[in-house]
């Protein structure tokens, strides 16, 4: 990071002249890549370009997609950017000579040599560099941005490299840069993923370029790479024979190959680091950094881990095939198959308590949704479990019950990823169990836990809702026009309560596909005699100027004030903020979480992709029916998004009305409460 910061002024200066001439270079590729590769907002300004790690494009990504399609073997001669590029290189030479020596050979090689002479070097450089350099467009531009941004980063001591630079393959230096870039990418993933730029494939370029091979066809090269990677992965401990098999499979099926992404990068990094070891003593540094990179949650793009998890799992899950690049770390399964499968297993599953089973099925089928409902259902199922529980001989209740609960929780997770509210409920329960005195009898401890659960549900959810309704309905004035999005039970209670108080207000229910939860809310409101307007989120900017207040529910509120809620909430909040309409978030304090999240990519839930691909009852718009299995089609049905605290005027919780900056205070207080309850 600091290296990056240090590099700030240089790329700015250097890129001004370089980028302004072709501000919007049209991609020269005629093939259509996956939607996410072409759709992301391109880095507009060179400055931001050089700053944000996301902007570093994955050179390989395109080559991957293009490989399937017939592709000109000789790289396209790039007419426009190369002169700029060369000028850029020269400018670099003028400005800081020592740096040039290290990386510029590549630059000049790529830029100046005609395509014919380039191909040998291109084969060394692998798909990544040369193709990136060739394919032009924004692609190229951001590629150089990567160079520019990574170039002056002082940690890769270029001065020492410089002496050997002539002897070495120029691309190696390049690789080092690329790899470290990638490391940075990983460590600041949260930041990086703020913009959906495809980047997973990137590190493959460096590793591929390591092989000093004569000319190979693209397919051959790739196969080689894959096998090497598989071998690496196999020796890498965890996977064993299984992962070799997995990666063989990977080598054959192209689309599947894309699944192994970030986690698999680790071996590559090791490879390239090893290769570049002589270039300085920063190998250990790299390792350190790798160790530092945390992997707290299950990353579903990690093939071997997913396989392991699958063997353990009760629910039979088929992974969806075409997953969107940026969201591969999240689980996505083929919907429809799980439920029937699980139902058929009902009588075979002895370890699962029927109450748990029932609730799990309800999660899976979507019969129970909403943070509160899910949490209450889960806790009540646990209550039943605890009532039916008897400690096995030779075991203590505390430990055994905690283990049991954990296994149930993992079952729930397989049915549907846990919500934050459930996570907090589980934490509370485990805490209670752990805090049980060893001396008390089993029946006493059971009844104590059950009453604790009851109290939690009552105090933290039911009463909390009532308090929130009291607070929030004070804010509803006569003549107000309240805009609500989706269907949040607290918001509904607020509206009905205010209506019951005789306040004169009107409600705009904003809804969105595919769930259309707003319709149910709309119905309940209309039946009660509330004036309502119903619209879809597409029209939110149109209806927003009528609104005087926006009431939104939340799945969770994070420590930095970010509101994690149903997808679309951020959009509504931003529009409201732009119209200067106050945004009021209603959320019980038990849903607050001490985590900090900057975007909605790191942690999210993927819904059924078919839900957005198909429109039930509308045969005329189901254009995707026959192409739904195409590799070029990736459907993204996100369930949640993160609303930055800037767009939130107020959070109404059971502790009163607080600004989003005070969430950590509540979290602090609440945690203390947790122990007290």
């Amino acid at each position: 990071m600091d290296a990056r910061r240090g590099s700030l002024p240089v790329p700015r200066v250097r890129q001004v002249g370089f980028f302004t001439p072709n501000a919007q270079p049209a991609p020269t590729r005629s093939q259509s890549g996956p939607p996410d590769s072409s759709s992301p907002p391109l880095p507009e300004s060179p400055a931001s370009n050089s700053l944000s790690p996301v902007m570093i494009p994955p050179p390989r990504h395109h080559s991957d997609n293009l490989a399937a399609a017939p592709r000109p073997t000789s790289p396209l001669p790039v007419p426009e950017p190369s002169p700029f590029r060369r000028r850029d290189a020269h400018a670099g030479a003028d400005n800081n000579a020592p740096l040039v020596g290290s990386y510029n050979p590549t630059e000049t090689l790529l830029a100046m040599s005609p395509p014919a002479t380039r191909s040998p070097s291109g084969s060394h450089a692998g798909d990544g560099e040369s193709e990136a350099a060739m394919s032009g467009g924004w692609f190229r531009r951001s590629n150089s941005a990567k160079l520019a941004s990574s170039l002056p980063s002082g940690t890769f001591d270029f001065s020492s490299v410089q002496s050997t630079a002539e002897a070495l393959k120029p691309t190696k230096v390049q690789n080092r840069v690329g790899v470290s870039e990638h490391l940075l990418n990983k460590t600041i993933l949260a930041e990086a993923s703020g913009r959906p730029a495809p980047k997973e494939q990137q590190p493959e370029a460096p590793s591929s370029s390591k092989q000093p091979k004569p000319k190979l066809s693209k397919a051959e090269r790739r196969a080689l790479q894959e096998s090497q990677r598989a071998a690496k992965a196999a020796t890498k401990a965890s996977g064993g024979g299984k992962s070799v098999a997995a990666s063989e499979e990977v080598a054959t099926v192209k689309s599947v190959k894309q699944h192994q992404t970030q986690k698999k990068d680790a071996p590559h990094v090791a490879v390239s680091v090893a290769a570049s070891e002589r270039k300085g003593g920063d190998k250990s540094q790299e390792k350190e950094r790798r160790k530092d990179a945390p992997a707290p949650r299950m990353q579903f793009d990690d093939k071997s881990r997913v396989d392991k998890a699958k063997r353990r799992s009760v629910v039979d899950q088929t992974e969806a095939r075409n997953r969107v690049e940026l969201f591969r770390h999240l689980p996505q399964y083929e919907h429809g198959t799980q439920l029937a499968d699980l139902e058929s297993k009902f009588l075979q599953l002895d370890p699962m308590h029927p109450a748990i089973y029932k609730v799990g099925l309800q999660y899976l089928a979507g019969d129970i949704s909403g943070g509160n409902a899910r949490c209450i259902a889960m806790l009540q199922a646990f209550q039943q479990v605890i009532q039916d529980y008897s400690t096995p001989p030779e075991k203590t209740l505390q430990r055994d019950l905690t283990a049991k609960i954990s296994s149930y929780v993992s079952f729930f997770t397989q049915c549907r990823p846990l919500s934050m509210s459930m996570g907090n409920g589980i934490r509370f329960l485990k805490n209670r169990i752990a805090k049980l005195a060893l001396s008390i009898s089993e029946s006493e401890s059971k009844s104590s836990i059950c009453s604790d659960i009851d109290r939690f549900i009552n105090e933290k959810i039911v009463l909390a809702d009532r308090v929130i309704v009291q607070h929030a309905s004070n804010k509803v004035k006569d003549g107000d026009v309240l805009l609500v999005y989706g269907s949040s039970c607290v918001v509904e209670m607020i509206l009905l309560h205010s209506h019951g108080l005789g306040k004169q207000f009107r409600v705009i229910v904003v809804d969105s596909r595919p769930k259309l939860e707003g319709k149910a809310l709309l119905r309940r409101l209309v039946v009660k005699g509330v004036h309502c307007t119903y619209t879809h989120i597409n029209a939110v900017s149109y209806v927003m100027h009528e609104a005087t207040k926006v009431f939104l529910g939340a799945s969770s509120v994070l420590s930095n004030g970010t509101v994690y809620s149903r997808v679309g909430t951020a959009c509504v909040a931003m529009v409201a903020h732009a119209f200067r309409v106050p945004v009021i978030i209603c959320c019980e304090a038990y849903k607050f979480h001490e985590r900090v999240q900057l975007d909605s990519i790191c942690s999210n839930e993927l819904g059924d992709p078919d839900a957005i691909g198909k429109v039930p009852g509308r045969m005329d718009v189901n254009y995707l029916d026959d192409v739904s299995n195409s590799v070029n089609l990736q459907l993204l049905n996100l369930m949640y998004d993160a609303t930055p605290a800037d767009y939130v005027s107020m959070i109404v919780t059971d502790y009163g009305m607080i600004p989003p900056t005070s969430v950590p205070v509540i979290v602090r207080e609440y945690r203390r409460d947790h122990l007290l309850i």
Partner: protein, 412 residues
């Protein structure tokens, strides 16, 4: 009224213009129909319409909120000699009254102790903020209480604070001061396990301590803010705030060289009074009309304002015009400092300007206003926290977001 709100509810909506036009007769009919049952239970809308919810029985100044009456009484005649006189006059008055009331309490036949009277006594002291007067009055309630149990005492205290609060509902600092007093004084674990008398003395101690803290708050703030006033700086002040005056006075006394721009502070021209005070301290002062703020903002190094109340979001409610000054200062990257005692921290959360209890004040235009012309008589506005830089309070120099932190810790 009801008719109006119904209309207001709909009128922003273009999608309903058509409906409205079609249903014009229907709509009005319905509005009327609605108004009958709804206005009967006295919904909040009627309080909105009611210009003077305060029970202060003064038919002549019906339009002025009691808070501003007090302020007018205090500031209208602020001159140092008068001040000295008044101080001397009231200096022993409260004590006398205290004794009297004590005596009264002692003799059950005498007139009962009234917290409002006590409060009014304290309130006459011009240098004493309303909230501090209330705090002192509440302390006197404890002292004079004849309750024999803790619960009784607490109920008595609660009643007294409620009656004080309802004396002037528009004053934020009064309400907040009473609430804070209740929290601070009664929320002590030392009250348990003790016999009533020692608990009572403890309560009185705490009450007096709180009164002392509140009284000294201004001095503390003045000390804290000295670091921010540097030689050669230009300070823009708005309205008359005793805290800000104290800050500037302290700075002048410590031989700091600075210049002050005073806004005029229409309609009650509080800025003139402040400039008067400052001129006496030999501080170079320039008077601006309220509309010249943006014009002179480029010369200004910092903006200093007081506050009627500090709300939970960290924003402030202050004299009309503060918001626009803060906006101008924010857009020109000038720091906006707020000097406010911590007893002004209120558990309010206005979402926008209109989301507050109204405090009205007559405005003189010098010429008769046609009866058809409406006049905005609201006396204060709300400045959101994002336009404030720092708050100088007796708790320390705080960023706006800490206000909520403090409030949560105090009230939870």
């Amino acid at each position: 009224m009801k008719e109006q709100t119904t209309r207001a509810m709909w009128w922003r909506s273009p999608s309903f213009i058509l409906d409205n036009r079609q249903q014009q007769p229907n709509d009005t009919a319905r509005g009327d129909a609605l108004s009958i049952p709804l206005s009967s239970p006295l919904p909040p809308s009627t309080t909105m319409a009611d210009p003077n919810p305060n029970p202060n029985p003064n038919p002549l100044t019906d339009k002025i909120s009691a808070y501003y009456q007090t302020r007018a009484a205090h500031h209208g005649v602020v001159s140092s000699d008068w001040l000295a006189q008044a101080q001397a006059a009231v200096g022993h008055l409260p004590e006398a009254d205290d004794d009297a009331s004590n005596n009264d309490q002692g003799a059950p036949s005498g007139k009962p102790f009234s917290v409002i009277d006590e409060f009014n006594n304290w309130r006459k002291q011009p240098d004493l903020a309303e909230a501090v007067a209330a705090i002192r009055a509440l302390a006197a309630v404890i002292r004079n209480s004849q309750a024999t149990t803790m619960m009784e005492l607490e109920i008595e205290l609660k009643k007294a604070s409620d009656s004080l609060k309802s004396w002037d509902t528009t004053s934020i600092s009064l309400t907040a001061g009473c609430d804070l007093f209740m929290r601070y004084v009664t929320r002590t674990s030392a009250l348990e396990y003790e016999d009533f008398n020692s608990a009572k003395t403890r309560l009185i101690e705490r009450a007096e301590k709180f009164g002392e803290i509140s009284y000294k708050a201004r001095k503390i703030i003045a000390m804290l803010s000295q670091d921010f006033i540097f030689d050669g700086c230009t300070i823009l002040v708005h309205g008359f705030s005793r805290v800000v005056l104290e800050v500037l006075k302290t700075a002048a006394q410590s031989k700091k060289l600075f210049r002050v721009f005073c806004t005029e502070g229409r309609p009650d021209r509080t800025g003139l009074r402040l400039s008067n005070e400052l001129a006496k301290l030999d501080v170079p002062v320039k008077l601006l009309i309220d509309s010249a703020v943006a014009y002179s903002m480029d010369e200004v190094d910092m903006v200093f304002v007081g506050a009627d109340g500090v709300v939970e979001s960290g924003g402030i409610i202050n004299m009309m015009g503060t918001y626009q000054i803060a906006l101008v200062a924010h857009s020109m990257n000038k720091p906006v400092y707020v000097a406010a005692e911590s007893y002004k921290f209120a558990r309010l959360y206005p979402l926008d300007q209109k989301d507050m209890g109204p405090a009205l004040r007559p405005i003189e235009f010098g010429v008769p206003i046609p009866s058809k012309v409406e006049v905005e008589t609201s006396a204060r506005d709300y400045t959101p926290p994002q336009y404030l830089t720092l708050l100088f309070t007796d708790l320390g120099v705080l960023t706006p977001s800490v206000v909520s932190d403090e409030l949560i810790q105090l009230y939870l």
